[in-house]
Amino acid sequence: MKTLNKTILYGLYLDDEVLMDAVREIREEGNEIWDVFTPFPVHGLDPILGLKESRIHIAGFVYGMFGTITAFSFMTWVFTRDWPIIFGGKPYFSVPSFIPITFEFTVLMAAVGMVITFYLVCGLGPGVTNPYLDPRITDDHFCIAFDVTGKSKDEVEALRGLLQKTHAAETNIKDI
């Protein structure tokens, strides 16, 4: 399955602590890591990798506000202009009774919006083929990968040596 047209050198680690130390060491020596794969989210890996904080929560806030405003203004319009009905002897415009639905709609919009944004940004979705390096990465192995497309044999061997030095249990090259 060749989808990215890249040649990847990767090392497999057996422990997340070892992986973290390896990432720190490799980056300290000025090497560029293509990606790191873990079977579960490893706390604190992002800053070590030099990744910026995700902005998805800002998107979430915007979606949430959209939900709040939409739900509240829609109910206000319906119950005061479009189809006024008395419920339980309350005035047409009664804020407390709007709050639960406003809250629910806010949460719904924020959640669904963030999921869709996340899928779009990551290029995920139904029908998308995802190349993988090694199936064990989804089980109990941790992986550091280098993009070695077009690199000389010496450069590749140097990187491989670095992986082994940082206690990689296994190193491989794969075209994806």
């Binding site: 800053p47 006024p84 002897g89 005035p91 407390p96 009774s97 709050i99």
Partner: protein, 557 residues
């Protein structure tokens, strides 16, 4: 893993010293509080007594509650095998030693209630002999709301104190003996697990007696949760503020941004949870619209509006918006400021749980006295007035004014309902406004029924039906508006008639209230510091101490 710390050795002073200067400062605070309380009592104003008793009750309950929440903090975190809090757990362990002081403070209130001290009849209407004779609901509840059961709450604090002492002793014992590392931890775990269910039920019992029974006609099953979360947030705020203070003195240097973040999440999360409970209680009462229940919020909304809204702004709007971002929860300055504000906010929350109820009880009694005197002096006029009352009764009782409604009216009401039908009693607690609304609805229903019959007779004339129905709906609404306007007039009128609508120290915390709070805070700090001094700030042999020291510090890299 803690690379940050491994690189630079941390200078942590683990022995807190309660210096003479600090002692003097807390004692000065206590003197301010004592002076405020004394001045409140001797102002000579007609409200002096209720102001004094409410201030004493309010602060005693609030700070005892915080001590309870500190014990709860230790217990929940231990039961959940939590480790991150270990480096600062000596702070809640010291704070919970305020519980015995709580027995003394609430003991004073209980004693005053038992001895029927002046003003306590209004603090707890259920201790008033008049009410016990005439007020059917209070008679009905007297098997629960009575001085004996009130004294039992002291036993409840006593039980909490036993748990606090046991847990603290086991924790400190560990410091000197490494072999107790696991053994004592397991014992603390067991004590905590036993404490939690006891805490859940007993705190509800205590808070019903102390605070909810201030409005003896009213009850809410959510109240205990709501009141307990309030002190829980306050306890977390005090813990954080104490951490900041101790850090300036070279203690708790292992306390990182990660710990700050976790406490920030607590302040944020539990502020939202508090709001959730507040709103759940409010909305159900507002929606069901039973006079007996709405009376609670009606009083607070109509007469204590600044406190009512300030409560929501300080405890929800501000922390919600300002602590929403990660960076705000992790910033010392922001979280420190918010902790102070939210602490004050929850103090205000307890203020508005207690003051309005007592004010209502007092106004009630004053009105009854006035009425009585009037009748005695001018018999004819008295009768006349009585008639007048009956005429206006509809508008009169409920606008939420403290001075309206009186024992006489109530006893009349009860006589009418001598069949002891609970439902009938409830109906009579409805406000006339609500009754009118209900009548409107009934009329509306009748109208539609009539229309239905009409439609049956003239099945083809569907346009008329819609039209009629629409008109009925609109009329109902208009009428509601009129009623609302009338309500406002009545309110203004009543306030003019029966006394001031704003009294400093009742409708809003005055200087004496703030002074009293400062005094209690001083006492609380005095106790906390005294106990902090008696043990190492850093638990030496707690199995989780290393985990807590290295509470993932990634983001600092």
């Amino acid at each position: 893993m803690g690379a940050h710390h491994h690189n630079q050795p941390i200078q942590d002073n683990s022995q807190f010293v309660f210096t003479g200067k600090l002692k003097l400062f807390t004692i000065a605070l206590i003197i301010v509080g004592a002076a405020s309380l004394a001045l409140t009592y001797f102002t000579g104003s007609e409200h002096a007594h209720i102001r004094f008793w409410t201030n004493l009750l309010h602060n005693s309950v609030f700070f005892t509650g915080i001590a309870f929440a500190s014990l709860f903090f230790i217990a929940t975190h231990t039961v959940a095998w939590g480790g991150w809090q270990t480096i600062f757990k000596r702070i809640p362990e010291a704070m919970m030693m305020f519980l015995p002081i709580g027995i003394i403070l609430l003991g004073l209130v209980a004693l005053a209630v038992s001895l029927d001290a002046e003003g306590t009849d209004f603090l707890y209407l259920w201790s008033d002999e008049e009410a016990l004779k005439n007020d059917r609901l209070i008679i009905h509840k007297s098997s629960f709301l009575n001085p004996f059961n009130y004294l039992l709450t002291l036993v409840v604090i006593g039980i909490w104190t036993l748990f606090a002492l046991a847990i603290r002793r086991l924790s400190i014992q560990q410091d000197g003996d490494r072999t107790l590392r696991k053994k004592n931890y397991e014992k603390i775990h067991m004590w905590s697990a036993i404490f939690l269910p006891i805490a859940g039920f007993s705190s509800a019992y205590a808070i019903w007696q102390w605070v909810m029974s201030v409005d003896p006609h009213w009850y809410s099953t959510l109240f205990a949760w709501y009141a307990t979360v309030s002190v829980w947030v306050s306890a977390i705020c005090i813990i954080y503020l104490l951490i900041l203070f101790l850090q300036t003195r070279g203690h708790l240097q292992y306390f990182t941004k990660e710990h700050t973040h976790d406490l920030g999440k607590y302040v944020f999360g539990f502020s939202v949870f508090w709001t959730y409970l507040w709103f759940s209680q409010f909305m159900l009462i507002w929606y069901a619209n039973n006079g007996e229940e709405t009376q609670y919020f009606f009083l607070r909304f109509e007469q204590f509006r600044p406190v009512f809204f300030l409560n929501l702004i300080i405890n929800f709007v501000i922390p919600f918006l300002s602590l929403m971002m990660n960076s705000a929860k992790r910033a010392k300055g922001t979280l420190g400021f918010m902790a102070g504000l939210v602490l004050l906010g929850h103090w205000l929350d307890y203020y508005q749980m207690i003051k309005p109820g007592v004010w209502y009880n007092w106004g009630h009694a004053q009105h009854a006295k006035h009425e009585h005197k009037h009748e005695g002096d001018h018999k004819h006029e008295g009768d006349h007035k009585h008639e007048g009352d009956h005429k206006h009764e509809g508008d009169h009782i409920h606008e939420g004014d403290a001075h309206k409604g009186n024992h006489k009216e109530h006893s009349d009401t009860y006589k009418l309902n001598s069949d002891n039908n609970a439902k009938a009693v409830l109906t009579d607690f409805q406000t006339p406004k609500e009754k009118e609304q209900k009548d409107d609805l009934k009329n509306l229903a009748l109208d539609s029924a009539k229309v239905k019959t009409d439609t049956a007779h003239h099945a083809h004339d569907s346009t008329t039906h819609d039209h009629d129905h629409g008109t009925a709906g609109t009329n109902g609404h208009d009428h509601g508006n009129d009623d609302h306007a009338k309500g406002h007039d009545e309110h203004a009128h009543a306030a003019h008639d029966h006394g001031p609508s704003f009294v400093m120290g009742i409708h809003f915390p005055g200087l004496y209230e703030l002074g009293t709070m400062i005094g209690f805070l001083g006492l609380f700090l005095f106790v906390t510091f005294s106990f902090l001094e008696r043990a190492s700030l850093m638990p030496k042999n707690d199995p989780y101490v290393d985990e807590s020291k290295n509470h993932h510090v990634w983001y600092d890299l």
